[in-house]
Symmetry: C2
Subunit: 125 residues, 2 copies
């Protein structure tokens, strides 16, 4: 395997405070981000559809979450000049490249949900 010597500080590491990857982990660890990514898997959704699908989230917080994801190049927001204006959200190519790990997270949650609910119930912590 060919290798190249690079300064240690140039190797991406989520545990390095100045590494851009750290910002990304924090974005994914944002309360609604994973659910937004999962909700947009099948394709395009309007704001109201996204909100109905996710449930529980307030419009204000959902808007903030979507804006952050748009800013990071993960979600595209398209406004159609209709009356009333139609606003649609979809994943960018970069966002879609996150789907593989996000799908794996979702599958894990769906497989182990019952077990974790039982652990939580039985816990004395």
């Amino acid at each position: 395997m060919d290798t190249v010597a690079v300064p240690v500080e140039d190797v991406p590491d989520v545990f390095s405070p100045s590494c851009p990857s750290r910002l990304v982990v924090e974005r994914l660890g944002d309360k609604w981000t994973l659910l937004v990514l999962m909700a947009l898997r099948p394709g395009v959704l309007r704001f109201g559809e996204l909100r109905d699908k996710i449930g529980a989230v307030t419009p204000k917080v959902l808007t903030q979450t979507l804006r952050s994801l748009e800013r990071d190049g993960i979600v595209t927001r398209t406004v159609y000049a209709e009356v009333p204006p139609r606003v649609e959200y979809t994943l960018t190519d970069l966002g879609r490249s996150l789907l593989e790990p996000v799908d794996a997270i979702r599958a894990w949650c769906e497989i182990h949900g019952d077990r974790i609910a039982a652990a939580r119930e039985a816990s004395t912590v």
Copy 2:
């Protein structure tokens, strides 16, 4: 493929508000959870080591995060009767089964960190 008919409400779905898997996605979307899982990948860590590795998190919030993960059966806390008491954290078998998707998330963040930082910088949103 053999299949069995089950009521729709019994099929795990993170978008069903009453599904246990939903609680799990919300736990993973807790600000520090992904970083704690990543930090505990190599093995056992004491509280102070975990805090140093993660950085930025307050002791109070890290304690809450660890307690939630312990309650969910994802992390084990072991107290050794020494003076001062030694407290160590490690992933349970269930927690370790999350490492594959979490590793994939981490790799994605480390690969795309620069691109996302650039998108954020250039964004007018």
